[in-house]
Subunit: 301 residues, 2 copies
């Protein structure tokens, strides 16, 4: 049995378009309606053909849905929900894919009082954006974290979890606040640091931008991939998960200062000790299937 | 015509073993002698079979060479060179692959007065170490930076450059001090930051190590690859290129503090502006063939 029969995806970028494609592939009898605020994106999605229907207004898009998934930047989730609140069927479940969860739960509680809401976050993505960038297997063997709020019923949580499992994901239930702390270190801080170092590199006077690009294979290019992620989405994440990001950033800065001191004073043992410890985490990530085991992520050589 | 006929590789880890394999593949008539200080590595290299000969002492290894390439951590280059100084043929050229160049030139000048030396640095590698990790195509389309010192003759620079081109690399000539500044931002600082954040993540109390591993696909796992690099090699790089690394680290810390302030005060425009700017560098890196254009580096999905 399918957990949902009529699924509406609001926001047809990388994640939204991947969900739509995955539903078509893994739940072929379900009906997929799409909507995006940008008319140009809607036109491209019609041409790409992965939705049964593309609605011009978000109200029309949700009117017949049993699941509505919001795949928009977290900063506009409340606003978008208010826009379709009057058209939402009473038995529909509303979910989302946002990278910060406590704020999303609050925004949806305010915009959709009385509705059934199950916030969720599939930990998956690439550096590309837009409906052309999505693909059906994006969520395979990735974790989807479901963070029930006061608007979640047990049966709704089960149905949303089952939906993600159909798309190939593994589901974990978590407190929204704890989710935000975990993601601050595993995702938000890495993005912040990547954006920063790419910015630092492009502002140098003694090293030209062309040199930075030419010799990027020494490590820098890895950071540029992350720093190519969608700017609107990430601006919203940092503003929405401010406290947890600032807490992790403070710890990171302290640790960096300690390393800076070790370099300045030539304390090779301190460097060696850290550099040895960090190898173990990589091994565990590979063992648990959370990264490609091939050297250099399997890049072509 | 081959630039060299009898090549000795000292240090048979990822880079040394890749050079030996590449010589066998692209300069099949040249003879390759290998040496490693570790008897266990020597035994494995004999079994792997990519050297014509594996010598038990570094003096024996260089005695008949026309090119000696030192592929050892930069901290021991001087010491290793002193060990074979008495056995080095007068017409041999000595080169290396170290990631910092001013210090290497000084160490070799002291250890091998009167010898012909051409320091070089192929900007290529993976996170793996040891003779099993090497492969012949590692240097394809990567840059090799040659940094002539007072011990380099024009003809020796030409021969070493031609050697790297035979291995598939593109060669650039650069001042050692400028090389060290360029690599500080494109390679050394990225490694330092990756080591730091992986260390920060493993020291948290509120987020478990198992959660960090499970949800690493949100960005963190990219950093763990770099932070799995060889600890001895990297300890030596940071100590050898101290001034340039500290300079870049200072700039990075200032930029990170500015972003921290933008997050604290909710300055979304400042975040958006930086996040937009950093996309352009990624595009240039892809256009210039310095990274895999496939999403997520071509990781399997």
């Amino acid at each position: 049995m399918l957990p949902f029969a009529r699924i509406t995806v609001v926001g047809l970028g990388l994640i939204g378009s991947s969900i739509a494609r995955a539903v078509r592939e893994y739940m072929p009898t379900a009906r997929v309606t799409g909507h995006d605020a940008d008319p140009d994106v809607r036109a491209r999605v019609v041409a790409l053909g992965f939705c049964h229907d593309v609605a011009d207004s978000v109200g029309t898009a949700v009117t017949d849905a049993d699941l509505v998934i919001l795949c928009v930047p977290v900063g506009v989730i409340g606003e978008v929900a208010r826009e379709f609140a009057a058209d939402l069927p009473a038995d529909a479940i509303v979910s989302d894919v946002g990278s910060s969860k406590a704020g999303v739960a609050a925004a949806l509680a305010e915009a959709l009082p009385g509705a059934t809401v199950v916030p969720a976050h599939p930990v998956a993505g690439t550096e590309n954006s837009g409906p052309e960038a999505g693909f059906a297997s994006l969520f395979h063997d990735r974790w989807c974290i479901v963070t029930p709020s006061e608007q979640s019923t047990p049966i709704a949580v089960t149905r949303v979890s089952s939906f993600w499992e159909k798309l190939g994901a593994k589901v974990e239930i978590m407190e929204p606040k704890h989710h935000d702390l975990v993601l601050a270190i595993t995702s938000h801080l890495p993005h912040l640091i990547a954006y920063t170092i790419v910015g630092t590199a492009s502002d140098l006077e003694d090293v030209t931008r062309s040199e930075v690009i030419k010799y990027s294979a020494g490590g820098f290019r890895d950071f540029t991939r992350i720093a190519a992620s969608d700017p609107t989405m990430w601006r919203d994440v940092f503003l929405a998960n401010k406290d947890a990001v600032l807490e992790m950033l403070q710890r990171f800065s302290e640790d960096l200062t300690a390393l800076q001191r070790a370099i300045r004073w030539g304390d090779g043992d301190a460097l060696f000790e850290l550099f040895t410890k960090t190898r173990a985490i990589r091994r565990s990530i590979i063992e648990q299937g959370q990264d490609d085991a091939r050297p250099d992520f399997g890049r072509a050589h």
